[in-house]
Amino acid sequence: MLLLKLFFAFIQVGMFSVGGGYAAIPLIQEQIVNIYGLMTLEEFSDLITVAEMTPGPISINSATFVGMRIAGIPGVLLCSIGCIIPSFCICLILAHFYYKYRSVGGVQVVLGAMRPAVVSLIASAGASILMLGLFQAELREVVVGELRVVELGIFVVALFLLRKYKVSAIAIILGSGVVGTIIYALLGAI
């Protein structure tokens, strides 16, 4: 019964979280903490911290975390599957229509107008992450004196390697983590 409850809780999380991971957090809290009482608020905030520290979508991370704590591996599977069922059904339908009609002239005109905006959305996400990297703060809370020089150096070198030598993105992401940690360790800052 508990497993079934979990399953339906995460179907709802998957269905109603529109617009990225952070939109899903209050929804997960509502389902897991408030409605079903499967976790305390404190456990939930630990969960969000861990979910932010690990790769992957926040809702899948939470589904796994909650599932694991409450019912082990079967819980993990059930929660994660619940979480992706709505996405799967809706996006499959959208994909079907997109590929059926995308070469129609009129559809191309409409899609053409959406593309520049998508570029900006990606750019905006990049700018936010850069600010977090360089100042550990959002744009509005940036204090110029707190610029983190190591991160700035890594950013410049990484961008240079990507543009000039086409180094793989995965190598850049993992490499920056390793190199940066070593630098901070040598500086005695850890």
């Binding site: 979280s17 790769p55 694991m68 709505p86 959406m114 520049p116 991160e151």
Partner: protein, 192 residues
């Protein structure tokens, strides 16, 4: 659209690696997917990747999962979607399952938190690299409408915190208007 099941393994493997390395939100994985599927494997066109991003952002659910469904469908139909989803959700499932057993140590480890902090600089570089190419291509269209939409959309999302959904819907409206104006002009034989 032809389905190609021989690509399933590469699709799974690519999604698995990208998902395992996606620190920091949906648009990071979109940038990685663009590099992998458009530039490296050349399975998708650049415009297509942008369309997929717009669609995934407007649909409910986690963005990486949504994008996997559509890209997988394009490569090998429903089987492709399932393969791509599996590749995308396995890494977080495995990682979190393990960490949930000792998350206190994980959360308080200073090396891990430092690595995650400096990694942001690398992630930002990857996104900027992708954005430089994408923005360059928008500028190459030489359409003032597109270039100004790009600038306004950036200011709106980054500086004014307008939600991505509203930006996309607004641009959908502008696109429909653009289509209507174009059709009207054609009907009148270019005499306006």
């Amino acid at each position: 659209m032809k389905k190609d099941y021989s690509k399933l393994w590469v699709l799974f493997k690519s999604m698995f690696v990208l998902s395992a390395c996606t620190f920091g939100g949906g648009f990071v994985i979109v940038s990685l997917m663009k590099k992998k599927f458009v530039e490296e494997l050349q399975w998708l066109e650049e415009d297509e990747m942008l369309d997929v991003t717009a669609i995934t952002q407007s649909a409910p659910g986690p963005l990486p999962v949504n994008a996997s469904v559509i890209i997988g469908y394009r490569i090998a139909g429903v089987i492709g979607s399932l393969t791509a989803i599996l590749g995308t959700i396995l890494p977080p499932m495995i990682i979190i399952s393990i960490i949930s057993l000792f998350y206190e140590q994980f959360r308080t480890n200073p090396y891990i938190s430092t690595a995650l902090q400096v990694m942001r600089a690398g992630v930002a570089a990857v996104i900027f690299d992708v954005v430089i190419n994408l923005a360059g291509n928008v500028i190459k269209t030489k359409r003032i409408l597109y270039i100004s939409m790009m600038v306004i959309a950036f200011v709106a999302t980054y500086l004014l915190d307008v939600s991505a959904m509203i930006i996309i819907l607004t641009c959908l409206g502008i696109g429909l208007l653009d289509l209507a104006v174009g059709t009207f002009r054609k009907k009148n034989g270019g005499v306006a």
